[in-house]
Amino acid sequence: MNYSEKVMDHFMNPRNVGEIADANGVGEVGNAVCGDIMKIYLKVENNRILDVKFNTFGCGSAIASSSMATEMIKGKTLEEAWDLTNKAVAEALDGLPPVKMHCSVLAEEAVHKAINDYRISQGLKPWDYKEHTDIHEQVHGH
């Protein structure tokens, strides 16, 4: 697979790996059948993401996407973090091979799920959230 240097950097030296013990928002997407599981932990205070960590089972681009996504939302407000798209993640990584674009979708979805998990825990209405099942199916056939 032809990965950019940025992808390889985030793959080999992933930022923000691990769990947050007192996370108040957690999002998990994917499944082992597809070969990809991504879990994102948020520590939110005053509507702002103070800390974020992840665990990922997946290919190089899935790991790099998780790492980049956590970097991109750290310190952001929830509204700003919600606007993070998979395209932005892929661009920040200097691009992903076409067959690997769905790995960046996982990152976007995991962030959305974690934010909504936080909102629900705060008694707020979850934001409208669309899963990119289409892209995922296209590649993994599930």
């Binding site: 390889m8 059948v33 990922t56 089972f57 690997k100």
Partner: protein, 386 residues
């Protein structure tokens, strides 16, 4: 950086002696074997010699060797060629769930064109059952196609027994020996094989050349149409340099077979023992004894194949995986799933295939670097954390 090639089941380097002879047939002795003149005669002579060399590797006669553009074409020719030439006799073909896609997709094509195909299951070691094979035979069965050795887990099937059964029941027996050639002794006559596929680039001959052995008397028709090359079984100007290279590689393989088996088995066993001793939560895939010498296949639980390959690559080690993520394809290895592995274990698989040029130092280097890589990836994985 040091580069170690542990992916000989994917492809192999061309042996320098092979490269040397074949280049001569590109630039100097470059004639078309169909030509009347001296350039043509030289080419034909070289091709005849190569046919004898290839025949000798598998115990065939040289008139029974037909050159193709590779293993895929030879598999297509064997299956379609026999099916079409014998469709008046019957429309049933038996194969296995763990064949290469060159067989499986060809069978699926035939299923859309009036043939019926039985795909035999395998056990957890990748082995078919002779009883299941026998039970699946009907009076419509015209062909049994079962691979000699599997390309992912290296499991070697009971070829002689299958050959005997096929002969008794008067059914043609084809075997895809792409992974077996140069790694196991092959004797088509002793084992009752009617058709056998070879691919050059798996044993240090060039890519783009292969051969189909067709026992004299087998009814088969051409699949690629055109000139009368290869006695009307395979049209297209003969790839003389590659054919000469295939012949030379077959000769080298035949000479070194016993040595190679001993060397690769020793290296492979050291590698397997090292991995099993050093790394927790790892499973060896394939058969404990009935496997080709150079093959080791592991599942490292809770990690994913492509990320493992990338890490190994950064350490200079080239290997492969049955994870769908590494192939950009839909599903992980159909072979591992057919053997009953979970999706997770299939995604976490690593195939090491040793070959010409590998040494004990290579194996030691691998054993030195693999534990840390596995540990690091597991530290990232949510499956392991749980």
């Amino acid at each position: 950086m040091k580069r170690i090639y542990f992916d000989h089941s994917a492809t192999t380097p061309v042996h320098p002696e092979v490269a040397a002879v074949l280049v001569n047939y590109m630039t100097d002795l470059f004639g078309n074997p169909s030509s009347v003149h001296s350039f043509g005669r030289e080419a034909r002579k070289a091709m005849d010699q190569a046919r004898r060399q290839v025949a000798a590797l598998i115990g065939a006669e040289s008139e029974e060797i037909f050159f193709t553009s590779g293993g895929t074409e030879a598999d297509n020719l064997a299956i379609k060629g026999v099916a079409l030439a014998n469709k008046k006799k019957g429309n049933h073909i038996i194969t296995t769930l763990i064949e290469h896609h060159a067989i499986l997709h060809t069978c699926e094509y035939l299923e859309k064109n009036g043939f019926q195909v039985t795909y035999l299951p395998v056990d957890e070691y990748g082995m078919i059952s002779l009883e299941a094979l026998e039970r699946s035979i009907t009076d419509q069965t015209i062909l049994i196609s079962i691979m000699y050795a599997n390309n992912e887990v290296g499991t070697v099937q009971p070829i002689a027994e299958i050959g005997r059964l096929a002969r008794q029941r008067n059914i043609y027996f084809h075997t895809d020996a792409v992974q077996a050639a140069s790694n196991l002794p092959i004797d088509v006559k002793k084992d009752g094989i009617d058709l056998l596929t070879l691919s050059g680039h798996k044993f240090n001959a060039p890519k783009g050349i292969g051969a189909l052995y067709v026992r004299r008397g087998v009814r088969i028709e051409a699949v690629q149409h055109g000139g009368g090359h290869e006695r009307n079984l395979r049209a297209g100007t003969e790839n003389v340099p590659a054919i000469v290279g295939l012949g030379k590689a077959a000769e080298i393989a035949a000479q070194n077979l016993t040595d190679k088996i001993v060397t690769l088995t020793t290296l492979r066993n050291t590698l397997i023992e090292g991995v099993m001793a050093e790394i927790p939560h790892v499973k060896l895939n394939g058969h404990p004894t009935q496997r080709i010498p150079g093959n080791a296949n592991f599942s490292f639980l809770s990690l994913e194949g492509e990320s493992l390959l990338l890490n190994l690559d950064l350490k200079g080690i080239a290997a492969s995986s049955g994870s769908a993520c590494s192939a950009g394809s839909l599903d992980p290895s159909h072979v591992l799933l057919a053997m009953g592995l979970s999706h997770e274990a299939a995604h976490g698989s690593l195939r090491i295939s040793l070959g010409w040029g590998n040494t004990m130092e290579d194996v030691q280097y691998f054993l030195n670097v693999i534990p840390e890589i596995v540990e690091r990836l597991r530290a990232i994985s949510p499956l392991h954390a749980e």
